[in-house]
Symmetry: C2
Subunit: 360 residues, 2 copies
Amino acid sequence: MLWPLPHGIETPALVVDRETLVANLDAMAGRIREAGVALRPHAKTHKSVEVGALQLARGAAGLTVASLGEAEVFADAGCGDLFIAYPLYVPPAKVDRLRRLAERVRLSVGLDSLEAAGRLSASGMAGRLEVLVEIDSGQHRSGVRPEVAGELASRCREMALRVVGVFTHGGHGYHDRSAPPGAAADERAALETAAAALSRHGIEPVRVSAGSTPTAVASASGAVNEERPGTYVFNDRQQVELGTTTLDHVAAAVVATVVSTAVDGQVVLDAGSKALSSDRPAWLSHHGIVPELADAPVTALSECHGLVSLPPGVSARVGTVVRVVPNHVCPVVNLFDHYDVVSNGVVVDRWPVSARGHLT
Amino acid sequence: MLWPLPHGIETPALVVDRETLVANLDAMAGRIREAGVALRPHAKTHKSVEVGALQLARGAAGLTVASLGEAEVFADAGCGDLFIAYPLYVPPAKVDRLRRLAERVRLSVGLDSLEAAGRLSASGMAGRLEVLVEIDSGQHRSGVRPEVAGELASRCREMALRVVGVFTHGGHGYHDRSAPPGAAADERAALETAAAALSRHGIEPVRVSAGSTPTAVASASGAVNEERPGTYVFNDRQQVELGTTTLDHVAAAVVATVVSTAVDGQVVLDAGSKALSSDRPAWLSHHGIVPELADAPVTALSECHGLVSLPPGVSARVGTVVRVVPNHVCPVVNLFDHYDVVSNGVVVDRWPVSARGHLT
């Protein structure tokens, strides 16, 4: 971190430092290439066709997204290989959209239920889709137990779906500071069990896909042949606290202005929960830190107010411009319509957050 | 609550029941009229020019907003009287926007610092603006102590600013279930002290403005002559738990689909923190409730996953459509591009969330 702040922009603003971003993209592409697996970055973090293009230019096999709507945005931008890594359920109201998408890109989708499989089969697109069965590797959010993956895959095949592999998200790697190594091992073990279960049912697991920034490199071995990290493009306070990265690799921040100093011991920024989100892991206090104010914490949020508790000896006047390193950058990006892209402290570009709001 | 859910919409969707909304608008307009004070609803909740028009049609004196950008949206829609109830700091980059706005509407703005006053004065718009001094009535967020309001107002007058009154937000009324009555009394007492302080400096406090949904009716007496509630238009789980309203007056919900039942004891909805926000007061557990599943709680959120813990005997299949009553509706609205407006379970209109993302 500690790229220079731009001058004269209207706040609150989502600012990304181009050089830090490019360094993060290069580093992950290099590490995953060295591990000998495919990189299919999750675009839910950046929602930006510009960042997606930079990832594809560095050898990404395709992009991962979380919804049909996000897939449409990246397809419109020319990305030809998309994976909806989500238990996709396609009701009749969405069938036409699925059809149009599957006709123009190589599309793979996740599922973990017979109901979802049935809807995909009924869509008439079974022959145009690749299906990956979602596995629960320990987060206990979605995904079937690895040992029953073969059975679900077999039922999918009976519905004329083309099952090409298994995927998981070791989200329990975010559970606390000590969690990432165990979660990476869990991802690998669960995927290997599930891949073997597919093989036993005569289905070749071509894609065996793990994914999260804290586990991306550590799980890239054995049967695993694809990684789907997302947050690494920008990083955030949570990644720093997890030990995944350091503050000097945080590429995005919310730039804000001090608007009130009326209450002793604190200043108020014009960035509240509508700019920083309220996301906070249970193990992490506060809503972000302010490097320009001696890493002072954002201790409370209203919708348009961020309260910063001042350390002894630190002060700031109304009008002072600072940055906040947010806890979790993904929902923050989702609150803005565009990025101000800076290089050496000068705004050099403005990128839309193209897939923002494409939830359905 | 418990207006009928619409069929066939793509989820997650922000749905508002027209009849419940209109009843909420009528009820607050009636109660504030009976109290004999002006109603200037805070539009940050709905960000909708359609809802704003319904409020003005019911006698609202004008609208309250939180930013220059929100004010621009409502001015564009024809609202002629806007109050930016925020400690507004106008750097050189924003002066032209302030000027264009002040030239076409009656504009009042908040401030609590000499720095902000200096910038307003330097904008050349001092004669076209009305200024209200912000008072801290106990939330300790922004606003000066009531007893020094006269001094700040006097300094503003020396800078040729037209101070017309004082305002406060008794946000500590959200502190816990017992807080609203005390916060309402604090608002009234602080505003009366501040108004008297202005009078002592020879400045007539024409507007004495309080505001929040939990305190709006209770603080509408004495010197207070304006109320600025926001959330009452839709209500939410927090308002129900505070005792401000009941579930049958909740007009907005996030409609979602069950997408996974793979992990025992829970179902996963396609509404996560990017549809429900992570806002949660410290005194309230969980991230919303699901009336269609016996008021089951949303116990955990990922960005696109909402985990619902099922009570004994309750189950749901993948594909089931339900609603979530969110904790805090304001940041939820801010995540969507439009409302699906329903009447008797049928979608009858689509309203844009016009001021979404207008943070600056």
